[in-house]
């Protein structure tokens, strides 16, 4: 009986043939990916640097030049020359007269789908956030991605209050999200209907980052003045 069953079975391919096919296809595919990765890497890096530059000038509309500063908890701000990965950094914007007009700060946090990365402009004269731009997000197309281009939502960040309180190490009032149409104070973020989680995420990312950076920037304004 068992002989009959075995005889009916089609001939098995040897393991060697299977390994040969999978491994050789895998190796060729791997080489192809590495090749294209290496070839496109410089272009992608250049695109990203260009996008960051245009984002800095987008959130600091009065700036014409910018300098990157690195922050060290013990030594304060120092100018970055070349690449410095891993250190927290901010971008100081200067006008034509080399006067500091504001700072662009990168921040990130969890959105609805994945991490949202954004950059915002901080004006130390008005003590407000004067603009944001989302650099990286995978929010739902048509809903969550409104955080990037919904004019009503972006209007929140033309004058968002981030002034320091009595205690100069924290914001006077945290940035809080409110339901759409209920914004009454300059530190509130008017949400988007249909993108509640994404718009709340932006408010919390900004709050987290501003709570950290604004006190440190204000303490070290002089070091930032002479960047250019």
């Amino acid at each position: 009986m068992s002989h009959a069953v075995e005889a009916a079975r089609p001939a098995q391919t040897s393991a060697w043939h299977m390994y040969r096919a999978m491994v050789s296809v895998g190796v060729v595919c791997g080489l192809l990916i590495v090749g294209v990765f290496q070839a496109t890497l410089p272009i992608i890096e250049r695109n990203k640097a260009e996008a960051l530059r245009s984002a800095i000038f987008h959130v600091l509309p009065d700036a014409t030049t910018s300098t990157t500063f690195r922050f060290d908890e013990s030594g304060g701000f120092s100018v970055v020359k070349g690449e410095s990965a891993g250190m927290p950094q901010v971008y100081a914007g200067y006008d034509d007269d080399h006067q500091l007009v504001g700072l662009a700060v990168e921040a990130q946090g969890m959105g609805y789908q994945d991490v949202i990365r954004l950059i915002y402009g901080y004006s130390f004269v008005d003590e407000t956030i004067i603009g944001i731009q989302v650099l990286d997000s995978k929010e739902t197309p048509g809903l969550g991605d409104k955080i990037e281009n919904d004019p009503e939502f972006l209007a929140n960040f033309e004058r968002l209050d981030v002034s320091l309180g009595e205690d100069p190490s924290a914001l006077a009032r945290a940035i809080v999200p409110v339901r759409h149409g209920n914004k009454t104070h300059p530190w509130e973020v008017d949400g988007i209907t249909g993108a509640t989680i994404s718009s709340k995420a932006i408010a919390s990312i900004l709050d987290g980052s501003a709570q950290y950076w604004v006190p440190r920037i204000r303490r070290n304004l002089e070091a930032l003045q002479g960047g250019e």
Partner: protein
């Protein structure tokens, strides 16, 4: 010779209309509904999928005698995933904005059943030339279908096509068309149109065959 030209034209043409991947086979619905909120996104997604489809068809068909049937699906997925990764890098190099707009859906081309379906059903059994034509036809058909959905949704939902405003300022955008439900509405409308045209054609053909046979009987 004539027969082979006809069959290769058939391989190409069938994907465009008669066996259109979206409107007839209803395959690859996830990207068709998710990234068709504007004509540009839809076309980019369609072309990216078409590229992966053609390349995977070419590779699968040229390796069809080399890949044992037990490991064929794993190998096909490996090939498809490689091309998707390449497309992912190339799109990032071409335009970061486009890459941002297409989001996670580029990586999801790997699991688009259209591509694995063509590899398994066609490329693994046919010559490289026929598989290339099949991939081209299906790919262009898919891109065309996505573009049709994307264009309609963008025209109604944002009053524009490829970002160019078409209507007067007073045009009220149908926001629902940009939202996911708009994708379903538009797809349903296209399917309705496709089936109506198909039914009419069968009916006319049926009528003419009937008339012919009646004529012959007389």
């Amino acid at each position: 010779m004539a027969a082979s030209t006809k069959s290769s034209t058939d391989d190409f043409i069938k994907g465009l209309w008669k066996e259109n991947p979206v409107f007839v086979q209803v395959l690859g619905m996830c990207p068709a509904l998710a990234v068709s909120n504007s004509a540009r996104n839809a076309l980019a997604m369609g072309l990216a999928t078409a590229f992966v489809l053609v390349m995977s068809n070419v590779v699968v068909s040229s390796l069809r005698h080399f890949i044992p049937k037990e490991v064929r699906i794993a190998t096909y997925i490996l090939v498809i995933a490689t091309f998707v990764t390449l497309v992912d890098y190339v799109i990032q190099a071409i335009s970061l904005d486009l890459y941002k707009a297409l989001g996670a859906f580029i990586s999801l081309i790997v699991v688009n059943c259209l591509i694995l379906g063509r590899a398994e059903a066609f490329a693994s059994k046919n010559t490289v030339a026929r598989s290339t034509l099949d991939g081209l036809g299906m790919g262009i058909g898919f891109a065309f279908a996505l573009f049709s959905i994307g264009a309609v949704r963008e025209i109604f939902g944002a009053g524009s096509l490829f970002g160019t405003q078409l209507f007067h300022d007073r045009f009220q955008d149908w926001v629902v068309m940009i939202l996911p439900s708009g994708g379903f509405f538009t797809l349903a409308a296209w399917l309705l149109l496709f089936n109506w045209v198909k039914q009419r054609r069968t009916k006319t053909q049926g009528d003419s065959t009937l008339a012919l046979s009646e004529g012959a009987a007389r």
